[in-house]
């Protein structure tokens, strides 16, 4: 590999990064080659000391995705930042995977609970019409007095209220978690360096 090929490969690996920033990054490596050559080093030696463009690109992409997720916080951008950081190396992966799986499992459980509450609120009201429509036996929802409409409506309101509150709470919790996750990713990048 020579200088041109090295820079080309790095540029290719960084194609997800916007052109302005990518040019700025590549400039540093270009200058590194120029100064190195002035100091009498061969292109081969410079490349050997720089290390693999893949390793450099992984590091830069992780930084880029974390920063991007900070200004455009959403589930997908945060997820991308997590994966980009995991890709850097074994230890980054180890320190991210377990907390990531635990938190995502917990959040999914909360969202499902919230949806289930709202669905059951609807089901209480629909159970009778649905049963007669299907010609089926009465579906037991676990509410003994639920045959009375007043009780049904009260139950439905309580359940849907709980569901909506839990849903809103979970959305806020997710937003807070995004921020914490990005901080942790940043910390992970600072602490664990590829050798």
């Amino acid at each position: 590999m020579n200088k041109t090929e090295y820079l080309k490969e790095l540029a290719q690996l960084l194609k997800k990064i916007p052109e302005n920033e990518r040019k700025d990054i590549l400039y540093d490596y270009q200058e590194h080659f120029e100064v190195g050559t002035d100091e009498g080093k061969s292109e081969e030696d410079i490349i050997k000391d720089l290390g693999s463009p893949k390793v450099i690109a992984r590091e830069l992409l992780a930084h880029y995705h974390i920063e991007y997720a900070r200004s455009n916080t959403s589930f997908t951008t945060v997820l991308r930042a997590i994966f980009a950081t995991m890709a850097i190396g074994f230890f980054n992966l180890v320190f991210l995977l377990a907390p990531f799986l635990a938190i995502i499992g917990f959040m999914i459980a909360l969202y499902i609970t919230s949806i289930a509450l709202i669905v059951s609120a609807v089901m209480i009201l629909l159970a009778d019409p649905l049963n007669s429509f299907l010609g089926a036996e009465y579906i037991h929802l676990g509410f003994e007095g639920a045959q009375k409409w007043s009780v049904k409506i009260l139950g439905s309101v309580i359940l849907s209220g709980l569901g909506v509150l839990l849903g809103i709470g979970t959305i806020y919790l997710s937003k807070g978690l995004y921020k914490i996750t990005l901080k942790y990713l940043h910390f992970n990048l600072k602490m664990i360096k590829p050798s």
Binding site: I25, D28, E31, L50, G51, V55, L60
Partner: protein, 91 residues
């Protein structure tokens, strides 16, 4: 890197080369750290002509960077003091 720029502005190659001579890290991965520190406001950069060849990008430490360096140095001092203390006690 902050310590290296304390007394004089340095260009990228100089910084990267000095660091990788002392610490086992490939030169290529020092630039991303330099970028991060610049983005966090610890450095400003400017292009300046050099005696030989094309202009080079120089890194200058900011007041914010100096503050951060002092904080890190204090932490380092406390840490090495504690470790030295433990080693001596052991002996």
């Amino acid at each position: 890197m902050l310590a290296l720029t304390q007394d004089k502005d340095r260009y990228g190659y100089e910084l990267v080369h000095n660091i990788s001579e002392q610490i086992d890290i490939s030169e290529g991965t020092v630039y991303p750290i330099l970028r991060r520190l610049t983005k966090e406001g610890y450095f400003t950069t400017y292009l300046a002509e050099s005696s030989e060849g094309p202009p080079r990008k120089y890194y200058k430490i900011t007041p914010h960077g100096k503050e951060y360096l002092q904080k890190l140095l204090k932490e380092w001092e406390r840490f090495t003091y504690a470790v030295n203390h433990l080693i001596k006690e052991e002996a």
